[in-house]
């Protein structure tokens, strides 16, 4: 990273100023240590050191006051301290449930009692058992395919719409946007009955593809409704980000010889990388984990494209729940998404180092 692409006073690995800081921090430390020892300067030499120290006026202050005084004098350090505190807080709060989930997974079956910070027993076998009890990898694969397909559809179709909404002026724009938004007003169940009928109706045209001509038990039965349901979010996200790209860049692309669509795909989308990646990740994850349609649009068989949810729920018996397997399977199930996030994050976060939107 280069220095001028970040804000030095908010960042932490700016080597130059941290070096400077190290020069004066130890002085304060000496103070603090002396005070901790009872505040008695221990000997002549030390005494001299105190007087040499131009901050000796602070000797009679408490550590907090001193910290506050330092904070005022050196706000960067305060920001940094706040930054670290916040980061650690967020890390703890987001990761703790995962840690706990791991503990649940490691606890042998039937002993899920009083799990606090350590598992009750240790049974890493759950992570293997997951695959023995059910073909969990198959469910994962199905979900992956469905999520990928939906994400592609949503991003492509949503990009076109987002471009129109975000960058073009036309009559009826606001009503049409609201119409898109209206979809998200309804609980998914509101779509279900007509769609269930529709997807179980046999269409002649589909016969060569799906065998019996219905979409049930095919990825289509999930990809279509899920694309439609997550489309409004994607359209709004993309609209927002596309509208922020300066006209000049699109103009430049068009003069260089792209078509209007070409400018969208070559300039606007890459420049909106954070937004597009975010829309993609949000859609992917949402579809990957979607509950309602995934559950009702297949018969739950992995060979019939049942998604990961069916897999996880498969560890839930009528009266007994294999919590350790559910926990293990969800940890495993989260991994692809985590990988996706890692891959996409460079785009999400730093696709464009210095802020994309300069002209």
């Amino acid at each position: 990273m280069t220095d001028d692409t970040m804000e030095p006073d908010d960042t932490v690995d700016d080597s130059t100023d941290s070096d400077d800081r190290q020069d004066d921090v130890p002085e304060h430390w000496k103070h603090a240590q002396r005070l901790a020892d009872g505040g008695q300067p221990g000997g002549q030499a030390d005494h001299g050191a105190v007087f040499e120290d131009d901050e000796d006026v602070e000797l009679d202050r408490g550590p907090i006051e001193r910290w506050a005084a330092n904070a005022i004098k050196n706000p960067e350090r305060t920001y940094r301290a706040m930054f670290y505190t916040a980061t650690i807080f967020f890390l703890l709060t987001t990761l703790f449930p995962f840690y706990w989930l791991l503990m649940v997974a490691l606890t042998p079956e039937g002993r899920q009692q009083d799990i606090i910070l350590t598992p009750n027993g240790f049974n890493p076998g759950a992570f293997i058992e997951v695959f023995q009890v059910l073909p969990f990898h198959w469910y994962m694969f199905n979900s992956f395919v469905i999520a990928t397909a939906s994400t592609i559809i949503v991003l492509v179709v949503g990009s076109l719409a987002g471009y129109a909404f975000g960058r073009l002026q036309f009559p009826g724009k606001i009503p049409l946007m609201l119409l898109v938004l209206v979809i998200s007003f309804f609980p998914p169940a509101a779509f279900f009955i007509p769609l269930n009928d529709l997807f179980n109706t046999s269409f002649f045209a589909l016969e060569p593809i799906t065998g019996d001509g219905t979409l049930y038990n095919t990825p289509g039965a999930m990809v279509l409704p899920l694309s439609a349901i997550f489309m409004p979010l994607a359209i709004f996200i993309l609209t927002t980000f596309y509208s922020q790209i300066p006209d000049g860049l699109e103009d430049a692309a068009r003069v260089e010889g792209t078509t209007r669509l070409g400018a969208l795909f070559r300039v606007i989308i890459p420049l909106s990388a954070p937004g597009v990646a975010t829309a993609g990740v949000l859609t992917f994850i949402a579809v990957y984990n979607e509950f309602f349609f995934s559950f009702l649009m297949t018969d739950g068989q992995p060979e019939n494209w049942a998604p990961i949810l069916e897999g996880i729920l498969g560890y839930q018996g009528q009266y007994e729940v294999m919590y350790h397997l559910m926990a293990a399977s969800s940890i495993i199930g989260v991994i692809p998404v985590a990988i996706l996030v890692i891959v996409a994050q460079e785009k999400i976060v730093s696709g464009l180092t210095a802020g994309a939107l300069k002209e």
């Binding site: 280069t2 692409t5 300066p246 000049g248 860049l249 103009d251 430049a252 692309a253 068009r254 003069v255 260089e256 010889g257 792209t258 078509t259 209007r260 070409g262 070559r266 300039v267 890459p270 420049l271 990388a273 696709g351 464009l352 180092t353 210095a354 994309a356 939107l357 300069k358 002209e359």
Partner: protein, 395 residues
Amino acid sequence: MARVQLENITKRYEDVTAVDDVSLEIEDGEFVTFVGPSGCGKSTTMETVAGLTKPTEGQVYIGDDEVTNLAPKDRGVAMVFQNIALFPHMDVFENISFGLRLRTYDDDEIQRRVERAADIVQLEGMLDRMPDEMSGGQRQRVAIARAIVRNPDVFLMDEPLANLDAKLRVHMRTELQRLHRELGTTIIYVTHDQAEAMTMSDRIAVLNKGKLQQIAPPLTCYNEPANRFVAGFIGSPSMNFAEGELVGDGLETKHFRVDLDPADIPGVGMGDAVTLGIRPEDVHLERSADSIPDSTGTISARTDVLEPMGDEVFVYLLLAEGIERSMEKDPSASADQLLMSVTPDTEIAEGEDVNVVLDRSKIHLFETATGDALRHGLTDAPERDSDTTRSEADS
């Protein structure tokens, strides 16, 4: 390779008319520079040619085709944008080759062309930098390279050299002229730099408030400005103006009078308000005015500020005593001020009382009310609409 014609182009934004009924024709292979005050509509006019802005009214022709509604990509134009508009997500090579990669050039060809273009703009060795790792001038050079790497019919360049230092600017100027000559491309150019406008253009189009004021070869604009606006705008420092009134045998301004025969000046008569214009270099110290064949009577003044520029010195003259020393260096702004330019070895000091004369052959007269030019030079009969081309105009 293409003539560009604008027919009654008007572009209105909500409450601003950016371009107001502009018609002009640019010949195939011609180099035309748009100049005018900031906000006068130069960029907007260019965008109309590029197809980025649809004119509210009027038609655009490139070559023999009407292109008013044609997409920019099909107009065969390349453009350097005033705001530079590099693609921030591409490195220099990708930025420059963007237009080529959209077409089916093979990689070697692209490589070759990009390298050549980078060479012209002196960006060798920076091809893998990202735009945000470059200085302002370097970015601007990338933008120029991006335009010249293609082979368009028409180049549109909106202040392409604004961020470059004088030396590089001269170099780029030469390169652009060479390109122009070799490719025969029509070039429309916007600049604020008088030297650029004067040296590069076949013709200069002067715009003001969205309206075309004059389109003519540079020296014509300089020597025979169509109106007071052009006279004041072209030339730096700008022309001195003195408003006056036609009297029996001359023009009477606040501080001096010039003899002339009102009958020589068509369209106005006795008592009409007429403005006199004289460029700083045509104001001479009386003591060194022997080389001027025909000069006006003496005007006495006191020197105010001296502004040495290296190769010349600007002398601000105060025409009336007792007025406060005005610091406004825009001579057209004050009737009591006269700007004179002298060579650096002239002996003159601040606060000195001097006598100056004007070179009659270089006096311009404008109708005060409309600003239209009435006459250029009081010596011979006026020779308006001269079509002298650049290389001959100095004879």
